[in-house]
C-alpha cells in the first residue's frame, strides 16, 4: 500500500460515496475532484452536472473553473443558467449534490459568505453561488471540506446554505424536498446525520486518525457513533487515478 495524504483519503472517501449515483451536481474544487475520480474509477456512467449548464460533462482533465471549455465540449447538452436551475435542479432531477464550504455547523449548515460580521467582514468569501438550491433540491447531499476548529464551528458567521437548519424536522418545515446532507467527509473522518436529531455524528475515522484528533478539531461538543469504524485505506488504483487527475490539471483544488 502506497503512502497517502489526508487530502487524498478525503477525496477518495467522497468519491466512494458516489457509487450507484446516476447524476451529481458538482461544485468546483474538492467536489469536482471527487466526482471526476468516481467517474474514472467505479462509475463511468455518472452524469456530471455543473452550474454553468453543462450536463453530462466528461472532462479528460480536472477543470479549473465550472465553465471551462472542456466541460462544454464533452457535455451531452449545454443549457442556460436559468434552465439548469429551474428545469434540472429545482425538480430534483439530479440525484446527488456535492458541496464544499468555509464553515460547517453540527447540523451541516454551511457558510460560504463571510468570516466575521456581514457588514464589516474580516474575510469576504465568494457567496452562495448554486449551493443553497443544490442542498435544498438534490435528493442527497455530500459535503466535503477540511476540518479544523476554524471550519467546524459552533455557530456559523453566516448561514448561506441550509443542511438540517436547527435540527430534526427543520427541512420539511422549510419546504425543502431533498433529504439533506447524508454525509460530511473531512480530512479526519466521516460524519452522518443522527436519524432522530439530524446532528452530524462521527461514524468513521480515516486511517491513522484518533477520536481525540477529531474532537480537538471540532468547535462543538462532538456526537459520535457507538461503533466507530475506520475508512478502508485508499487502494493503489484509487491513488493512481487521483494523482493522474491532478497531474493533468492546473487546478489547485481550491474550495
Amino acid at each position: 500500500m502506497s503512502a497517502f495524504t489526508t487530502d487524498e483519503v478525503m477525496t477518495i472517501a467522497a468519491s466512494r460515496e458516489l457509487t450507484g449515483a446516476r447524476s451529481c451536481f458538482v461544485g468546483i474544487g474538492l467536489p469536482s475532484v471527487a466526482a471526476n475520480l468516481a467517474r474514472s474509477l467505479h462509475s463511468p456512467g455518472l452524469v456530471l452536472v455543473y452550474e454553468s449548464g453543462t450536463i453530462g460533462a466528461k472532462p479528460t482533465h480536472l477543470p479549473l473553473s465550472i465553465g471551462d471549455g472542456e466541460l462544454a465540449r464533452t457535455a451531452d447538452v449545454v443549457v442556460s443558467v436559468p434552465e439548469i436551475f429551474n428545469y434540472w435542479l429545482q425538480p430534483g432531477r439530479i440525484d446527488v449534490g456535492m458541496l464544499g464550504a468555509a464553515q460547517v455547523d453540527r447540523f451541516a449548515n454551511l457558510n460560504t459568505t463571510v468570516i466575521g460580521s456581514y457588514d464589516r467582514p474580516i474575510v469576504r468569501l465568494p457567496g452562495a453561488g448554486g449551493a443553497p438550491e443544490i442542498a435544498s433540491a438534490c435528493p442527497r447531499v455530500i459535503v466535503v471540506m477540511r476540518q479544523s476548529k476554524r471550519t467546524f464551528v459552533d455557530t456559523l458567521d453566516f448561514l448561506t446554505t441550509v443542511g438540517f437548519g436547527d435540527g430534526a424536522g427543520a427541512r420539511s418545515r422549510l419546504g425543502m424536498p431533498g433529504a439533506g446532507p447524508q454525509v460530511l467527509i473531512s480530512d479526519l473522518g466521516i460524519f452522518r446525520p443522527d436519524p432522530s436529531t439530524s446532528e452530524m455524528t462521527l461514524t468513521t475515522l480515516h486511517p491513522g486518525v484518533s477520536f481525540e484528533d477529531v474532537r480537538d478539531a471540532t468547535g462543538w461538543d462532538l456526537a459520535f457513533s457507538s461503533e466507530i469504524t475506520e475508512t478502508p485505506e485508499p487502494t493503489d488504483e484509487e491513488l493512481e487515478i487521483l494523482r493522474q487527475l491532478h497531474a493533468g490539471s492546473t487546478a489547485k483544488g481550491a474550495v
Binding site: 479549473l64 462544454a72 436551475f85 465568494p126 452562495a128 446554505t161 441550509v162 419546504g175
Partner: protein, 271 residues
C-alpha cells in the same frame, strides 16, 4: 435596430454615471474589452450586475467605477479570492461597495422576470438562510393553488446589459453558443444593450442550436476580436488559465494593481 459602433462610442453613448450595468458571461464570453473601456471613460457610481463577478468586476471595482454590486458568487474560479472586491467590502477601498447578494438561481430568476416583463419571479429558495435579512429584493409568496410558501425575487431591469458573442451578421443579428449563461435574458431585460463580437459574418451557418438575438433587441454591436480575453469564446479561443492565476498576485496589493491598471487599461487605449 442595433447600430454598428466603435467600442468607445458604444460605451460613451450607452453607459452613464449612476447606471445599473450588467456585464454577463458565465466563465465563457466575458466582455473584458468593454469593461476596460468603462474604466477608461472613468464612469462612476455604477451598480454592477453579474451572477459571477470575476476578474473584470475586480478591475472595475478596484478602479472605483462601482457604488453597488448585485451578484451571486464573487471569486476567481478555481484560484481563490477577488482581492479588489474584498478590499472594497472589507476596507472601503477605493470606496465603499453596497451589496445585494443572491443565489445563482435567485439572481437568474430576477433577470428572467425582467426579460419577461413581470414584477417578480418565483422559486424554491432562501428559506432558513441569512440571505433574506440582507436583501430587500427577496420576499415570500404563497402559491394560490397549493398554499406552498415560495421565494419571490424582484425583477431586475438593468439600464444597460453588455455581453460578448461569437458572431454578428451584417444585419446586426447576434449569435452565441457553448455556455450561454444568462446573457439572452440579460439583454432582453435591459433598456439598452451592447454586444461585442468576435466576428462579423455574411450569414450564420445553421448547424447549431445557438442563441440568436435579433438585431432589433439590441442597441449597439461592436466588432472586438478577442474582446473576452482572458476568458474564451468557444470556436475562437481558449481560456487563459495562467492569466487567472497571475491575477491573484496582480490584484493582491493596491499599488501593484494601480500600476497594472495604468499600463494595461489606460495606456492601451480603446481598440
Amino acid at each position: 435596430m442595433a447600430e454598428f459602433l466603435s467600442l468607445e462610442s458604444a460605451i460613451a453613448a450607452n453607459v452613464h454615471d449612476g447606471d445599473m450595468v450588467a456585464l454577463e458571461g458565465f466563465t465563457h464570453l466575458i466582455p473584458f474589452a468593454a469593461g476596460h473601456e468603462i474604466i477608461r471613460q472613468r464612469r462612476r457610481d455604477l451598480t454592477l450586475v453579474r451572477l459571477t463577478p470575476d476578474l473584470i468586476f475586480d478591475q472595475l471595482i478596484g478602479a472605483g467605477c462601482a457604488r453597488k454590486l448585485i451578484f451571486s458568487w464573487g471569486g476567481n474560479p478555481g484560484v481563490g479570492s477577488l482581492h479588489r472586491f474584498r478590499d472594497a467590502v472589507e476596507h472601503d477601498w477605493p470606496r465603499a461597495l453596497d451589496l445585494d447578494e443572491h443565489t445563482h438561481a435567485g439572481l437568474a430568476n430576477r433577470i428572467v422576470a425582467g426579460a419577461a416583463g413581470l414584477p417578480f419571479a418565483v422559486l424554491r429558495a432562501y428559506a432558513g438562510t441569512d440571505a433574506r435579512a440582507h436583501s430587500s429584493t427577496i420576499a415570500s409568496v404563497t402559491c394560490p393553488f397549493t398554499g406552498e410558501i415560495l421565494a419571490a425575487v424582484a425583477a431586475l431591469r438593468p439600464d444597460v446589459t453588455i455581453i460578448h458573442a461569437q458572431q454578428a451578421d451584417r444585419a446586426g443579428n447576434v449569435r452565441l453558443w457553448g455556455i450561454t449563461g444568462v446573457q439572452k435574458e440579460s439583454v432582453l431585460a435591459a433598456a439598452r444593450s451592447i454586444v461585442t463580437v468576435e466576428e462579423i459574418v455574411d450569414e450564420f451557418s445553421d448547424d447549431r442550436n445557438a442563441v440568436v438575438l435579433p438585431s432589433w433587441t439590441m442597441t449597439a454591436i461592436v466588432h472586438v476580436p478577442g474582446g473576452c480575453f482572458p476568458s474564451y469564446a468557444a470556436g475562437y479561443s481558449e481560456r487563459d488559465n495562467d492569466y487567472y492565476e497571475a491575477w491573484d498576485h496582480l490584484s493582491r496589493d493596491r499599488a501593484v494593481f494601480e500600476d497594472w491598471l495604468e499600463r494595461e487599461v489606460f495606456e492601451v487605449g480603446a481598440k
